[in-house]
């Protein structure tokens, strides 16, 4: 049964901004799907508000709408494009929920759009907990296996409290219905816990529904990834076993594929249950994920939940097995059956089989608790990690060690240095799952804990525990051996020990270990991920390293370019860098190079085996990269390694690679250093005649104090060589400076701290540019909406700049060129400027692809990363203009007057984090970046573009209702005009007494409400926080008061987050919002695809 012939066009919904629980994996799946559908000859219409994605590249779909993923906007797109079908299963929960809304509000019927790959009934059966329980019961009746945890569904707090008794008491699990990434779920050990977690759960659930469940804490946890076609063929693509037992969200667990501790009997029972469930739920075609818990004492199996769509685990399973779930799901949705689809890797065999692995895959999560010091770092059933790394090895210890070093985080690798500490204390600590628990367990083992004790404390399966003991024994052998014999070294390498670990144990430098190792000929080989354990020859070069006998890297003739990716997603280094790496790969492949991608992030497009000519799924450490370089040099000519596109990770390796004789193409490591090292950079600026804010470099408090005294407070303090403003703070006085240096002692131990004058009230500007040594191409100029002092990654910005004139652009161009030339850039450079009192200050320059490259590229319809990759390998801007990759004339600084305005808005993860008391964490923006993702709003005028960016990021701006305003004194002067505008637009303004006074003096009627700190009034008058909680406030404008008096603001902002009320924390954002609301009210908001925008821009260029 081949492809359906009645489908001509398909609408694909993406997953929107990167948030915790819904990250780059949906770019990977969506990109695969769009490419497949296009290759099937369908017109692909895509909507995704996230500009940092590959899927929103204009080449990936026929019509790409970077518009908010809300039912309102998607309806506009449907009305315009009239697609035949809608494929909602590849854009995570966002896409699925939007599709259901469109079904339920009749839009799909109205326009005759058919849902494919899912039907609404199946989605409900899979996602609604009560219905799913019925599914599991039906399955049990049919096959005699599978049950749900005992549970009760509740809609009110009274039902919840009563429910606990029916389950036999605490602890109980709370799970809100229809939330993504397990948002709002958790374990309640007593009534206080319960009221808090369940209360929030009721609010989060779109159906005001939570499920209470018996506790299965400490059980073994498994997942199966299944696919079904329309002929009811079902295959299990992958089994996944969690290293961390039940109680930790699978996204936060260390997970292993395939399952390690199941006999065939038990595995087949899970498989039978899984297949019966996918049939009972009625998943039409496509993928689904089912989670199981198994009691380690007796094997009782409980079915936890299913996702009737492509999920984060599907991406992991695809990378782990080489079976491209999203791609196949898209083919199944348009009518193919599994046996009609060839397996890409073997090309000979069909996709209707189950991959078998001859290696072990380990995924480890990456957390960002350092960004949220007040957040509770205990791992629960709510996902808190921001990224993940995956590694493969020929045994579990090798894969585990590789995965831990892929995290690229201090302390993530096992360490055998120093004394381990007290055994009992370590075992007690290991009882609570946290980031790094596995390291605590290893410490406990070193401190003498037995296998039984480790199991008792952690419930980690004894097989895994024994593998940790194996590593500890090898470490002991290494430490005790008189000589580091080849056998011993090989044994350690075979179990994944890095040169650095071996060196630490033997008291040798890592490079000495490496030299010894190379002298002994102990090097890794590269094996192929082939889906079939070598039963058939693999055609796709998808490699991982292992210390084994036979390497499978084939010789090649074309010159290769190795592109180093960005590793696990983290705040400050996310999908934007993957975008640039993927673009480089595409561009260089077209230019005749063999592209070789190195990365360890399973969520990304870069680690899709058909993105580059060769893929090495490997840690991005010096040791691992050098081995890849060696293997590729053996295979054929090597043109060089690209380090400037993957963010700080490859940049940090650049100098060491060069020192080891590896050719770096593009901007050289010395130039990178020139930009990072403040003194050297100062000289560059001086030579170019450019002012920078007064600044200095300090290694101690005394030095820092001297600099700050000279510059004058407030100052901006930050460690050098970090990304994402890690550790960056505005320091207002001397005691704060002292405490800053104390708190960041770790970060500044190796590199000095930088102290800059903080430019209050300045306009911040970001510039992305290309430089080839002679010519500058100004990629784009972005004006921040928030004032300077908020990290550029967290602030909204507009392109083209909304308030800058031709004179400013000219100055920016000259400055950028001066810096690019002075530093020696060959490729991309990003510079941050601050315009203060008509002086253009240079804040910093980064000679690499920036976070804004994808946004700039989409806003100006020019592929900057592709151009940068070409320039790195010697092409000139003039050549690229002639080729058509860059516009023949002009650049991002000379956009036509009628070019659209693009607004980028950051998306913050506040709602994910609670402090140890269960209270929300504060939401104020600052110089340290904390956003996880971004959206783009694009339209003809600024107001509409801004409104779209807000709708995409946080939900639509309100067009009526009550707006609460409370601002710091310094903002009060700027408050009157936007507040008046809001009243004129029909809003009722609420304000606390101080702000209300200012407004009333300005002739603006304001209703005074009680501050949180005032408490409830004598007649039950509610405070603003209560009003927010009661859902009576539609928009909040609350600017922080500087260092003191923040508590009220804290309560207001956390209430806003928990209720999902738009909350603006700068007065500039308020001004922008007013323009947006005005545009919405005039109903002038339309939708336009990037392709249409590009056509207009390009027409304007001619």
């Amino acid at each position: 049964m081949p492809k359906r012939t009645d489908i001509k066009s398909v609408l694909v919904i993406g997953s929107g901004p990167i948030v915790i629980g819904q990250a780059a994996e949906f770019d990977y799946s969506g990109t695969q799907a769009c490419r497949v559908l296009r290759s099937e000859g369908l017109r692909v219409v895509l909507v995704n508000s996230n500009p940092a994605t590959i899927m929103t590249d204009p080449e990936i779909a026929d019509a790409t709408y970077v518009e908010p993923i809300t039912p309102e906007f998607v309806e506009k797109i449907i009305a315009k494009e009239r697609p035949d079908v809608l494929l909602p299963t590849l854009g995570g929960q966002t896409a699925l929920n939007t599709a259901i809304s469109l079904h339920e509000n009749g839009t799909l019927d109205k326009y005759g759009v058919e849902l494919i790959g899912a039907n609404v009934e199946a989605i409900h059966k899979g996602e609604d907990r009560q219905l799913f329980k019925g599914v599991v019961e039906a399955v049990n009746a049919k096959i005699g296996h599978g049950e749900s945890a005992r549970s009760v569904i509740c809609h009110t707090m009274d039902e919840i409290i009563a429910g606990v008794d029916t389950l036999g008491g605490y602890p109980v699990v709370v799970r809100p219905s229809f939330t993504m990434g397990g948002a709002g779920s958790g374990f309640a050990h007593d009534e206080e816990d319960l009221r808090r977690i369940a209360g929030q759960g009721l609010a989060l659930s779109p159906t005001t529904e939570v499920l209470l469940e018996e506790s299965i804490l400490g059980w073994k946890e498994y997942e199966l990834e299944l696919m079904r076609d329309k002929s009811d063929n079902v295959v299990v693509v992958c089994s996944i076993e969690n290293f961390d037992p039940m109680g930790v969200h699978t996204g936060d667990s260390i997970t292993v594929a395939p399952a390690m501790t199941l006999t065939d009997r038990e595995y087949q029972t899970l498989r039978d249950i899984g297949i019966a469930i996918i049939r009972e739920v009625g998943v039409d075609t496509g993928g689904c994920n089912i989670q199981f818990a198994i009691n380690p004492a007796d094997g009782r199996i409980i079915v936890i939940e299913m996702n009737p769509r492509v999920s984060r685990s599907s991406a992991l399973a695809s990378k782990a097995t080489g079976f491209p779930i999203a791609k196949i799901a898209a083919k199944l949705a348009v009518g193919y059956t599994l046996d009609e689809i060839p397996n890409d890797i073997t090309e000979q065999t069909p996709a209707s089989f189950e991959p078998t692995l001859d290696y072990v895959v380990v995924k480890v999560p990456r957390f960002a608790f350092e960004k949220f010091p007040s957040a509770d770092a205990t791992l629960t059933t709510t996902m808190k990690s921001v990224g993940e790394a995956m590694a493969m090895g020929r045994n579990f210890p090798e894969a585990l060690n590789k995965a831990l070093r892929s995290l690229e985080k201090k302390g993530s690798q096992f360490s055998w240095a120093g004394e381990p500490g007290d055994k009992d204390a370590l075992l007690t600590k290991a009882q609570v799952p946290t980031d790094g628990r596995i390291n605590t367990v290893m410490e406990a083992i070193r401190a003498g804990a037995t296998q039984e004790e480790v199991f008792e404390s952690t419930k980690i399966d004894p097989w895994f525990v024994d593998q940790l003991f194996l590593l500890d024994e090898i470490a002991a052998e290494l430490a005790q051996a008189e000589k580091l014999t080849p056998e011993l070294l090989r044994h350690a390498k075979r179990h994944g020990f890095s040169d650095q670990q071996v060196g630490e144990i033997r008291d040798l430098k890592p490079d000495v270990v490496r030299e010894v190792r190379h002298a002994l000929g102990i090097r890794p080989v590269f094996k192929t991920v082939d889906t079939c354990a070598a039963e058939f020859a693999a055609k796709t070069p998808y490699f991982y390293s292992s210390y084994d006998e036979e390497s499978e890297v084939a010789p090649r003739t074309k010159p290769a370019v190795i592109i180093l990716g960005s590793g696990p997603n983290r705040i400050g280094q996310g999908i934007e860098f993957d975008y640039s790496c993927v673009h480089a790969s595409f561009a260089l492949s077209e230019a005749g190079y063999e592209t070789v991608m190195v990365n360890c992030n399973p969520e990304t497009v870069s680690t899709d085996y058909d993105t580059s000519d060769r893929l090495y799924f490997e840690p991005l450490t010096l040791e691992d990269v050098l081995e890849i370089v060696h293997a590729e040099k053996q295979a054929g000519p090597l043109a060089g390694v690209i380090v400037q596109l993957g963010g700080q990770t490859p940049l940090g390796l650049a100098q060491a690679l060069k020192d080891n004789g590896v050719p770096i193409v593009g901007t050289q490591p010395e130039a990178i250093d020139l930009a990072e090292e403040r003194g050297a950079f100062g000289r560059v600026l001086k030579e170019a005649g450019l002012p920078a804010p007064k600044h200095g470099t300090a290694f101690s408090f005394d030095e820092a104090k001297a600099i700050a005294d000279e510059i004058g407070y407030p100052v901006l303090a930050r460690p050098s060589y970090v990304l994402g403003g890690r550790g960056m703070e505005i320091v207002y006085d001397e005691p704060s400076l002292a405490s800053y240096l104390e708190r960041h002692a770790g970060l500044i131990s190796e590199h000095p701290v930088l102290i800059d004058r903080f430019l209050d009230d300045a306009v911040e500007i970001d510039v992305d540019a290309l430089y080839d040594g002679t010519e500058l191409y100004l990629g784009g100029v972005m004006e921040h909406i928030e004032e300077a002092g908020i990290h550029s990654g967290d602030s909204a910005c507009a392109l083209p700049p909304i308030t800058l004139g031709g004179y400013d652009i000219k100055r920016l161009r000259t400055s950028t060129e001066g810096i690019a030339k002075g530093v020696g850039v060959r490729g991309l450079i990003n510079i941050q400027f601050a315009l203060s009192g008509d002086i253009l200050y240079v804040l910093e320059a980064n000679p690499r692809a920036s976070r804004t490259v994808p946004f700039t590229s989409k806003a100006t319809a020019v592929p900057l990363a592709k151009a940068a990759a070409r320039i790195s390998l010697g092409a000139t801007i003039a050549e690229l203009r002639a080729e058509g990759m860059l516009p023949a004339e002009g650049d991002g600084g000379t956009l036509p007057a009628d070019a659209p305005i693009s607004v980028k808005e950051a998306v913050m993860p506040w709602s994910r984090f609670r402090d140890v008391h269960g209270r929300g964490v504060d939401t104020v923006l600052g110089p340290e970046m904390r956003s996880t993702g971004e959206v783009m709003g694009i339209d003809k005028v600024f107001g509409t573009a801004y409104a779209k960016s807000q709708a995409g990021a946080y939900g639509a701006l309100p067009t009526k209702g009550k707006v609460f305003v409370s601002v710091a004194n310094r903002d009060k002067r700027n408050l009157v005009f936007p507040a008046r505008a809001l009243v004129e637009l029909g809003f009722e303004v609420l304000a606390t007494s101080g702000t209300a006074e200012v407004l009333q003096r300005g002739g603006i009627p304001a209703t005074v409400v009680r501050k949180h700190s005032d408490g409830e009034g004598p007649n039950g008058e509610r405070t603003i926080v209560q009003l927010i909680h009661d859902g009576e406030v539609d928009l909040i404008i609350n600017t922080p008061y500087g260092t003191g008096g923040r508590l009220d603001g804290y309560e207001i902002r956390t209430a806003a987050v928990s209720r999902g009320v738009p909350c603006l924390t700068t007065v500039q954002a308020m001004g922008a919002a007013v323009q947006g609301i005005d545009a919405l009210l005039r109903d002038e908001v339309g939708v336009m695809s990037l392709q249409e925008h590009a056509e207009l821009i390009n027409a304007g260029r001619k």
Partner: protein, 392 residues
């Protein structure tokens, strides 16, 4: 919740050197696993990620040295419930990373303890993927594993490997099958009696039949037509088993006797090859066989694809594109492996007989093909006349 007692047994075995030598001269050096000594057999690889206990006890692996492509083996230890026969049959066992501490609530002892007890010589710590690729490219071949006192220079070891018998032309089923008949009673009410000719039958096969109300009379490999009809069967079954089907003339003749009587007939694996030969088709040795639990087989009667357990080095040579005329009426290929178009099932159109090359009883493996036992039941339920003619 009661926690399982983690197995305290720690296997701190010395690293005893071992070497694996293939008949084409390639060798791999590792450590002894299981018994120390020497062993010979045909080197084959199995791609299943679970079910090593079932694999080891599957009589079809008699005289074969099994290379597990999954690297971590032994993780769930050994229990006394999952055996597919009374003992381990593999001639040798090749793994990369054996478990030290098994973990499973049903585990009674570690795998390598069981291997040692049963005298199975194995090797660990070698590049099993390189070995598998070698076998894929060069085909299954003779192999020897040597450790301890059996070690010698490689030329000597190679000459010992070359002296070992080949699989082609080997008549092995009598070596593994039961010598005495026995009965597996039906579960619940008895509906049918089946005479099952044991050529190396796996325990799960009679169990799958028993679950469907079949009383299974398991008969020795050398049983005659008379022996079969002595149990007054509603259906006859020919099991899986080791060796070259070209040597199974006796069983082919017996099956022809059953076909003549039109008794419902079902064959699995070796039984499929015998049906092929009984119908007049040839059999041949595959380059490296199918051994795994992930093989896509299409039921050509329904178009559906099932994921199935395979263990076969030989296959039937029958035309895929047409119905064949045979001495027992028309016959066709009912199942085919989608990976390589190997014949995976035969079906007679004028005689109540069918067979599959793979393992619907699974163990190890997925249960997708369990419906074939239902087909056998349907055949028996729908063909009562066949039995009445049997005694004549």
């Amino acid at each position: 919740m009661t926690a399982p007692a983690p197995t305290t047994l720690r296997l701190r075995r010395e690293r005893v050197p071992a070497v694996l030598v293939l008949e084409d001269g390639r060798s791999f050096h590792g450590q002894a696993y299981g018994a120390v000594g020497e062993t010979f057999g045909e080197a084959v690889f199995n791609t299943g990620m679970s079910g090593y206990q079932e694999t080891l006890t599957d009589p079809s692996y008699h005289r074969q040295v099994v290379v597990m492509t999954a690297p971590q083996i032994g993780n769930t230890g050994w229990n006394d419930e999952d055996d597919e026969s009374r003992r381990i049959w593999v001639a040798g066992f090749v793994v990369r990373d054996p478990a030290r501490t098994p973990s499973n609530w049903r585990s009674l002892r570690p795998l390598d303890e069981e291997l040692t007890t049963q005298g199975v010589v194995g090797i660990s710590g070698i590049d099993t993927r390189a070995l598998t690729r070698h076998l894929r490219e060069r085909g299954a071949m003779r192999v020897g594993i040597f450790s301890g006192p059996a070690l010698a220079d490689e030329a000597t070891l190679l000459s010992r490997v070359l002296q070992a018998p080949e699989m082609k032309g080997a008549d092995l089923c009598a070596e593994v099958a039961t010598t005495e008949p026995y009965i597996v009673p039906a579960v619940g009410g008895k509906r049918f009696t089946v005479a099952a000719v044991d050529l190396g039958i796996k325990a799960m096969t009679p169990q799958r039949m028993a679950e469907r109300g079949i009383e299974v009379h398991v008969l020795p490999a050398n049983s005659t037509v008379e022996d079969i009809y002595a149990v007054n069967p509603d259906g006859v079954f020919f099991s899986n088993g080791p060796g070259d089907p070209a040597t199974a003339d006796h069983q082919v003749a017996v099956m022809q006797g059953v076909l003549e009587r039109k008794t419902p007939l079902f064959g699995i694996c070796f039984g499929n090859q015998i049906l092929g030969r009984a119908l007049g088709f040839g059999t041949y040795k595959l380059k490296y066989g199918h051994r795994g639990i992930n093989q896509p087989v299409q039921d050509r009667t329904t178009g559906k694809v099932e994921v199935t357990a395979h263990n076969h080095g030989f296959a039937v040579n029958a035309p895929l594109d047409k119905v064949s005329d045979t001495p027992y009426g028309r016959a066709e290929v009912s199942h085919v492996c989608l990976n390589d178009d190997v014949v995976e099932g035969l079906q007679c159109l004028d005689t109540p007989a069918f067979s599959v090359q793979y393992h619907p009883e699974a163990a190890a493996g997925p249960h997708d093909a369990a419906y074939l036992f239902d087909r056998f039941v349907d055949l028996m339920a729908g063909a009562p006349a066949a039995r009445t003619t049997a005694g004549s």
